[in-house]
Amino acid sequence: MSENSIALIFAFPLFGAVFCALFGRKSPNLCHPISVASLAGALGAGIETLRRVIASEANEVSYFFGGWNADAYPRGVGIEFRADYLGTLIMLVVVGVAFLVAWYSKLPVAEETPEKEGYFYSLFLLQVTGLAGISLTGDAFNLYVLIEVAALTGYGLIAMGSARAAAATFKYVILGTIGASFYLLGVGYLYMKTGTLNMVGIEQFITDNESLADSAAMQVAFVFVCLGVLMKMAFFPFHAWLPSAYFHAPTTTSCLLAPLVTKVMIYVMIRMLLTVFGVEFSFKNTHDDEGNIWTEVLPWLVVLAILCAATMALAQRDVKKMLTYLIVAEVGYMVGGVWVYNYYGLIGSIFHIISDACMTLCLFLGVGIILRKRKTTHFDGLRGLFRKMPFTMTGFFIGGFSIIGLPPTCGFFSKWYLITGGMLAERWEYIVALMFSTMVMVVLFFRLIERIHLAVTESGENIGHGHGDLALPKSETFFDEAPLSMLIPLLLSAGVVLVIGVFNQDVVNLLQDFLEPFNLPKGTGR
């Protein structure tokens, strides 16, 4: 059993999806327990995989599907799944988030998409299969297939939302397909030059053949892969699909996609840069002696991305919409962390993938509850929510404080590493952008707190009779918490935000082991 744990991670949700599709028509009530159970199984297999990775000597575990071992040079016949610390951690985040969302989804799915539970949950589980697969696959073409699996199911999940979801999905389909095509072209060039699709194989071939670095085809491959991935992760100029898609999607869909999809694509970028093209090629390869044009230009694009996305978030008057723009800004953080190119930046970037997934989950779960209670997520509908749902709002605010970066939430630590990375690279513009966006988040979340807590209209007039009277109808003033099936996942995710923050050192130690062989710049004092 144990040696197949990697396969089981996918087997559970895949078969869960099949069962949901089979039984969904006749007995829709079965779908929710099937999903929760299969994701719990996947989570168990994921934790077992992490244990095996820690126990293994090379700190990685390979799994060859169908036993197609790869002794050929360069390695790469058959499909290999490779679990190292980076991939395993991302996979655990994916499966863990999906598990909480599945638990949470019982009421929202039944209420928002009645009689479609079967379709919804099978797409949901396939989506998780795709995302978890992306994080573990060791094959560049297989990665493309899994990206498409995740994307296609994502389109379906989003389109089940409100009336305008179809239009939003269409935008996503166009941009997502262009992005994936770029990636596929890039992989095609890679195959042309190296003759393998296995990631380790490609990297071996590149390090063994130094002349490849000057090859125009390789440059094109690099640019296409980066461009495709940047589009898929909604990096600033290519972000247009994200806000409307996540805003109009059903609650459960946005809870699942918002924390995961962009983050997993950033993981793909890190994976391609570090372990496929290799540090040497990605960051130091030069046409002339002036340095890699990407490492010069991208941090500035990142600055632009963060500034624009934060400003657009500031202009929103709807919590859910505001959060979607925050995701775009956070993508900027992480891309910046990679391209400042040093140890702290990468630690920050990877740690931010984990922590941003947790805090975005926390916020979207909270927004889902608000939407269910008040039928709107507009700022005007927030007054008095803390009195009504103190636990929900506490969970929501822990997520918010984490986005701001207040200690001891995990958001503080990822931001700390990112700032430290910027310091070390002396990329001051990146630090200024981070600071700007931090202040924007302070404004955003304390504005929400004001809306919830104060008896003042936006234009600054008092309402109510003073002394904390919020002028709400009687029905809105008493304690009325969310149902436990929604509240517990929210509080668990808030707890995870705090726990990952407090125990950040343990996560970072794993990442340190992963990053050790790449010899990234670190500490200039000596």
Binding site: Y344, F401, I404, G405, L406, P407, P408, W416, I419, T420, M423, L424, I431, M435, T438, M439, V442, V443, F446, I449, E450, H453, L454, A455, V456, G460, E461, N462, G466, H467, G468, L470, V502, N504, Q505, V508, G523, T524, G525, R526
Partner: protein, 495 residues
Amino acid sequence: MVAEPTVINDARPLIAMLAPMVALAAIVWAGEKRKNLREIFTLVAGVVQASVVLSLLPLVLAGNVVEFHIWQIFTNVPMLLRVDGFGLTFAAVASVLWVATSLYAIGYMRGLHEHAQTRFYSFFAISLCATMGVAFSANLLTIYFFYEMLSVSTYPLVTHMQDKEARKGGRTYLSYLLFTSLCLLLPALSWCYVWLDEGQGAMDFLAGNSMSEQFSGTTQIVLLLLFTFGFAKAGLMPFHSWLPNAMVAPTPVSALLHAVAVVKVGVFCVIRVYSDVFGMEALQALDGEQIMVWIACATIIISSLIALSQDNLKRRLAFSTIGQLGYVVLGATLATKQGTAGAVVHIAMHACGKITLFFCAGAILVASGKKYVSELRGLGRKMPFTMGAFLIGSLSVIGLPPLGGFVSKWYLILGALERDYVWVVVVLLVSSLLNVFYLLPVAVRAFFRNENDNEEGEGGLKEAPWQCVVPLSCTALGCFGLFFFSDILLSLAGL
């Protein structure tokens, strides 16, 4: 130099820190329905905290430090609590005055029929936990954690009234405090972490000061500026205006948090950075360090001048606080033993004096509904205890013997003379004169002017509830007490 202090591992600092958090759970449980019980929980937590802190006094006076390791934040940077003389002075002041404030808050909040009292006491308890955390922090990151916790946990207290003014006050409060801490302080911390050998203990206050070896003079000045302004709770100009705006809060909050805990956390952090991160000798040798002395002196004089023109009593006291915080920062920037000791002692002296003044302002509001200095004519006859305490508090803040304020001012002057800064002495004297001008007229008006209208017939005594009058009388007596027991404080401050 003194010999290396003996380190004792003891959980008492943690207990002192967590006592308010335990009380928090009890307070929320008791709620509005069992409000007497709720208030008892607050008082008990205060007494427990104060006695635990004071029980550490003999240990620290004997030259030991008490440590407690909580958890590892980063490699080489633990979350570590450590009690030394500075920290104990501050912790003792804050925790003892919390007891007084809790009693006072009962009278004040009930007297004014305030809403949401459970929320009020809950966040008060969290703030005190954070204050203890700052006082006992052993390194820069630990101090930063509790510093941020204090900023956020006092926001609901500042916006307690939930109206327009509260929103304005709250916005100013947060934007100043979070802007400075996230945008100035955090980069400075991260800078220290990266460049001081990746923070190999360099953030610890006992590590000795490798700053001057690692960094050029300019870098040190930049860092010094980032740190000094980053701790904006110290109220140094130009990042001071959150404090007058925070006065929309109920008076117990202004009294304990915005005259004692929050602002003193700011100056305490500044003292820590100057004396334990940079180090006094290194600072004295640093070119351009004088700029800090100028900023502190400018803050002292300008805020005193602004205080003169304030008619709202609480705002006048707030500007007075900014000036007095300037004294503490000045003491730290002097970077001499006596100056720093003066600064640490001034935390205690000013706390006792200023909390008395705020208590009085609140008592006046409860008893007569008056907020403005110009309305106070003849109030001395109606509220003799309150106004008497106000006079004592004023004299202590001005710095006359035999009141506490004299001692700290004396040592500040000695510290200035040690650096041959005669002009600083002049600034201190001028500012004392300004203190006289803006504080004494309040008491004089209350005692020696008659009311214009003929209300004397119905007059007689009209004091605030006893829960208000007792604490303010005690703190007024405390101003005398601190003068006579100042040797304990001075020895804690390292003299």
